[in-house]
C-alpha cells in the first residue's frame, strides 16, 4: 500500500506523485484531503487529493517541497512507499449546477482546484478557470486545466506567462463582462482567497474557498485547525475545508499559519541525516 508508481516534477520544487491505495482511490471525492507521514519520527501533514483512479486503485497528490516533511517526501522515488496515509478527510466540495462558474487556483493551489473544476464541469456548469502563479516556471497543470474548462485565463505576477497581474485582476475583468457569474471557487494562498472574497462580496457572488490551516489528526479531535467563520469557531477538518469565503476571518488564518514558522527552520536543519537513512 502507498507505493509510489509515478513521480513527476512539474516545476522547481513541485512534484506530482501517483501512489497505490485502492480504498482511498474509491472513497475520495473532490475537495477532500489526506494526511501523510514520511518516516517514523515524522509529522502528520495534510495534502489535498488531486485526482484518483478507482479502477487502477491509484491516488494523485501534488505538493511543493517547502517544509521538512514535503522535502523528505520529495526525496522518495518510484517504488518507495509513503509510510502513513490517512484519508479521505474533510467534507467533499458541494457540487451543483450553479450555472456560470469561475474556478480560481493560485500557485500549488491549482492542484486543489483541479478535482473541483473537473466536478463542476461534469455537473454541467460553464466553467472559467483562472490560474495564477508567481512566474511561468511556477505555473502547473495548464494543459490539464485547459482540457476540462470552457475558458482559461492565466496570470503571473511578473507577466512571464499569460497576463501580468493577480488572479483578482482577471476575475474583475470577467465580472465586468455582460454574462453574470453565479459561483466562484477559490483556492491558493490566503491573501489571494481573501482578495477574491472581498471582490466577489462587492458583486454579491456566492464564493467558496478551501482553507489550509495547520492540522494534527484531521478527524476533529485536536482543534489545531480551528478557524473563525461567521464569528463562529469551526474546525476545517470536519466542518470544512470549504467555507463561505465572505464569512471567513482570513487575517486570523494567516496569523495561525505562522505559529510554528520558527520551528520549521530548526526542524529542517535537523533533517539532513534523516535523508541519508
Amino acid at each position: 500500500m502507498n507505493k509510489i508508481i509515478s513521480k513527476r516534477k512539474l516545476s522547481e520544487g513541485i512534484y506530482r506523485y501517483t501512489f497505490e491505495n485502492k480504498e482511498l482511490a474509491i472513497a475520495r471525492k473532490p475537495g477532500q484531503f489526506l494526511i501523510l507521514r514520511v518516516h517514523d519520527k515524522g509529522e502528520r501533514i495534510p495534502l489535498t487529493i488531486m485526482d484518483s483512479d478507482s479502477e487502477k486503485g491509484t491516488v494523485d497528490i501534488i505538493f511543493q517541497a517547502v517544509g521538512k516533511t514535503t522535502n523528505l517526501l520529495s526525496d522518495l522515488n518510484e517504488g518507495d512507499r509513503i509510510l502513513d496515509v490517512a484519508g479521505p478527510l474533510g467534507n467533499p466540495t458541494l457540487i451543483e449546477n450553479f450555472g456560470r462558474c469561475v474556478a480560481i487556483g493560485g500557485g500549488v493551489g491549482t492542484a486543489v482546484l483541479f478535482p473541483v473544476l473537473k466536478a463542476l464541469k461534469e455537473a454541467g456548469n460553464y466553467v472559467i478557470a483562472i490560474i495564477g502563479a508567481r512566474d511561468k516556471d511556477t505555473l502547473i497543470l495548464i494543459d490539464e486545466v485547459k482540457a476540462i474548462s470552457d475558458e482559461l485565463v492565466i496570470t503571473t505576477d511578473d507577466g512571464s506567462a499569460g497576463t501580468k497581474g493577480f488572479v483578482t485582476d482577471a476575475l474583475n475583468q470577467l465580472i465586468g463582462r455582460d454574462d453574470k457569474i453565479d459561483y466562484v471557487y477559490a483556492v491558493g494562498p490566503v491573501v489571494m482567497m481573501k482578495n477574491t472574497a472581498v471582490l466577489t462580496k462587492e458583486h454579491n457572488i456566492k464564493t467558496e474557498v478551501s482553507l489550509n490551516p495547520i492540522m494534527v489528526d484531521g478527524t476533529g479531535m485536536c482543534g489545531s485547525c480551528r478557524c473563525m467563520v461567521d464569528g463562529k469557531e469551526r474546525f476545517a477538518c470536519i466542518h470544512g475545508p470549504d467555507f463561505d469565503g465572505h464569512k471567513v476571518d482570513f487575517n486570523l488564518l494567516t496569523q495561525r499559519l505562522k505559529m510554528f514558522e520558527g520551528r520549521e527552520q530548526e526542524s529542517m536543519s535537523c533533517g539532513c541525516e534523516k535523508k541519508e537513512e
Binding site: 502528520r44 495561525r256 505559529m259
Partner: protein
C-alpha cells in the same frame, strides 16, 4: 484523605529529577512490599472490592496468590477478567472503585489493590519477556471454531481493545480500525509516558495481534468507509463503535483563537503520540514559551501541566474554577503535580485572553470565584466575584475542560440515534438503535475512565456473541 497510600509507599522518581524527564514517575512495588501488602487482605467471604470493579476481577483470589508468591498465577487470574492489568494498575482510579469498597477503607487502611494489580502484571510481563515467551500465559483464542463471522471494532482505545480481545477469544474474526497511525487511542495520544510507558501499551497491542486480531491503522471510519458499508459491502456481522469522546471543548471566551492556545487534546497528541518533547529529533513541534496556564482540574489538566513542565517551561499554572476539594483529578496526580512545582490557582477562571500584534497570546484575564449552591453534579457551583479580575502573563494556554462527542461516525451512519449532546444512544447492553451496530466507552457515556470503557467493551462483546448466536439458531 485516608487511603492505602498511607500504609504502603510506592517508590517514585525524585520530583526535582523527574520534572525534567518523561520516564515513569511511580516505580512499582518490590516483591517483598507486594507480599507484605497482600498479607493484610482479609480475604472476605463476600468481597466488596469486587463489586467496586467495573470488570469484576476476582480480587481476593489474585491477592491470595501474591501472598503465596505465585505471581504469574496472580496475573493469570486478573487477566481472566481484565485484558490490560499493567495499564489499569497504573491509571485506574482505584480509590473510587475497588479500594473504596474495601472493607478496610473504613479504617483508612484499604488494601492497595491497584498497586498489587500493577505488580502482578509487571511481573508477568517481565518474566514472560525473559523467557522469550511474550504473552505466553495470556490469551489464546479458546475456541477457534465454526464462528467465521467477521466483526469490526472502530477505535483502538481501551474499549475497542477489550471488545476485540473478548470477541477473538470467542473465535470471531476481528478487525480493529484505528484513525491514527498507531493503535492505542487515548493510551497512546493522551496519557503521558511518565504515567503510562508506551512500551506497555505496545506490548498489549502486540499480544492482541498474536491472538489474531487484525489491526488497520490510518483507517478513518466515516470517511474511508461508512459503518453501513462495513456491514453491507464488506460483510461484517457486527460493528462495535468505540471512538471515544474526542472532540475538544473550548470555553468560547474572547481571544481563545489566539496563537499558542491549545486544546489539551492537541497539546497531548503533539507531546505523546507525535513525541514533540523530542523535537527537533522528531518533526512535530510545539511552542509553549516560559509561562503556561492550564485550564481545568481533571486528570487531563494534570497530565497537560506535568507534560508542559517537562518540556522546559519555567512556570506552569493550573487554573481551576472550584476549590481543590472539587477537583476531579486523582489525589495521587494532584500530589505529584504539586511536588513537581505546578502552581495551582483555585477558585479562578479565565474570562478572556489578550495577545500581541502577531496574534500570540500574552495575558489571561482571570476572575476569582466563590462556591455557591450545589449544581447538578452535586458539586458546589462556582460563582464569579464581581470586580475581582486580574491578569496573569502567559506565553501559552492549554484548555483542558473536557471533550464532546466527535460527530464523524454519527453524521455518516444512517439510523444511528444520538442524544442531544451527540453521544450514541444504546440500551443497557450496548446495542444502538441500528441493527448489528453496538457502541460503548466515552462515545456513549461521555468522558469516563479507562476501566469503565473496558467494561463496556467486554459487555458489548458478550452481547454481540449472544445476538449472533441467537440469529444463527
Amino acid at each position: 484523605m485516608p487511603g492505602p497510600k498511607e500504609i504502603i509507599y510506592m517508590p517514585a522518581q525524585d520530583p526535582e529529577k523527574r520534572k525534567k524527564n518523561f520516564d515513569e514517575v511511580a516505580l512499582g512495588l518490590s516483591e517483598e512490599q507486594a507480599v507484605s501488602e497482600a498479607q493484610r487482605c482479609l480475604n472476605c467471604k463476600k468481597p466488596l472490592c469486587m463489586q467496586g470493579c467495573p470488570v469484576g476481577i476476582s480480587i481476593p483470589e489474585f491477592i491470595m496468590l501474591i501472598k503465596e508468591r505465585k505471581f504469574l498465577e496472580a496475573a493469570r487470574v486478573i487477566k481472566k477478567e481484565n485484558l490490560l492489568p499493567a495499564i489499569c494498575g497504573r491509571v485506574c482510579p482505584q480509590e473510587d472503585q475497588c479500594e473504596k469498597a474495601c472493607v478496610l477503607d473504613r479504617t483508612g487502611k484499604a488494601i492497595a489493590i491497584g498497586y498489587l494489580e500493577r505488580f502482578a502484571a509487571d511481573y508477568e510481563m517481565k518474566n514472560s519477556q525473559h523467557k522469550k515467551e511474550k504473552g505466553a500465559i495470556s490469551h489464546q483464542p479458546s475456541a477457534i471454531s465454526s464462528q467465521q463471522c467477521k466483526i469490526a471494532v472502530i477505535g483502538s482505545g481501551p474499549s475497542g481493545l477489550t471488545c476485540a480481545s473478548e470477541l477473538r477469544k470467542k473465535g470471531y474474526q476481528v478487525t480493529l480500525f484505528e484513525a491514527f497511525h498507531k493503535p492505542g487511542g487515548v493510551l497512546m495520544y493522551g496519557i503521558p509516558s511518565f504515567r503510562l510507558p508506551k512500551e506497555i501499551v505496545k506490548y498489549e497491542i502486540d499480544n492482541l495481534r498474536k491472538m489474531g486480531v487484525e489491526i488497520k491503522v490510518n483507517s478513518v471510519i466515516g470517511r474511508l468507509k461508512t459503518v453501513d458499508q462495513l456491514i453491507k459491502d464488506e460483510g461484517y456481522s457486527a460493528v462495535y463503535i468505540a471512538t471515544g469522546a474526542g472532540h475538544p471543548v473550548f470555553m468560547g471566551i474572547v481571544g481563545e483563537e489566539l496563537n499558542y492556545i491549545y486544546s489539551s487534546n492537541e497539546f497531548l497528541t503533539r507531546c505523546n503520540l507525535m513525541e514533540a518533547y523530542k523535537f527537533p529529533e522528531t518533526d512535530t513541534p510545539i511552542v509553549l514559551g516560559k509561562r503556561v496556564a492550564v485550564i481545568g482540574g481533571g486528570n487531563t489538566a494534570m497530565d497537560s501541566a506535568r507534560c508542559a513542565l517537562r518540556m522546559g517551561t519555567e512556570k506552569v499554572y493550573c487554573v481551576y474554577r472550584r476549590s481543590e476539594k472539587e477537583m476531579p483529578a486523582r489525589v495521587e496526580e494532584i500530589e505529584h503535580a504539586k511536588e513537581e512545582g505546578i502552581e495551582f490557582m483555585f477558585l479562578t477562571a479565565p474570562v478572556r485572553y489578550t495577545g500581541d500584534e502577531d496574534n500570540n497570546v500574552k495575558k489571561a484575564v482571570c476572575i476569582k470565584m466563590e462556591l455557591g449552591e450545589p449544581d447538578a453534579s452535586g458539586r458546589r457551583r462556582p460563582v464569579p466575584i464581581e470586580g475581582s479580575e486580574f491578569e496573569i502573563e502567559v506565553d501559552s494556554v492549554i484548555v483542558a475542560i473536557g471533550t464532546n462527542a466527535n460527530p464523524l461516525i454519527s453524521d455518516t451512519t444512517d439510523n444511528l440515534e444520538v442524544n442531544k449532546w451527540g453521544y450514541i444512544t444504546t440500551d443497557e447492553e450496548g446495542r444502538t438503535t441500528k441493527k448489528q451496530v453496538y457502541a460503548g466507552g466515552d462515545i456513549v457515556t461521555g468522558s469516563a475512565t479507562v476501566i469503565e470503557a473496558m467494561g463496556a467493551g467486554k459487555k458489548a462483546a458478550h452481547i454481540i456473541d449472544k445476538d449472533l448466536c441467537r440469529d444463527r439458531s
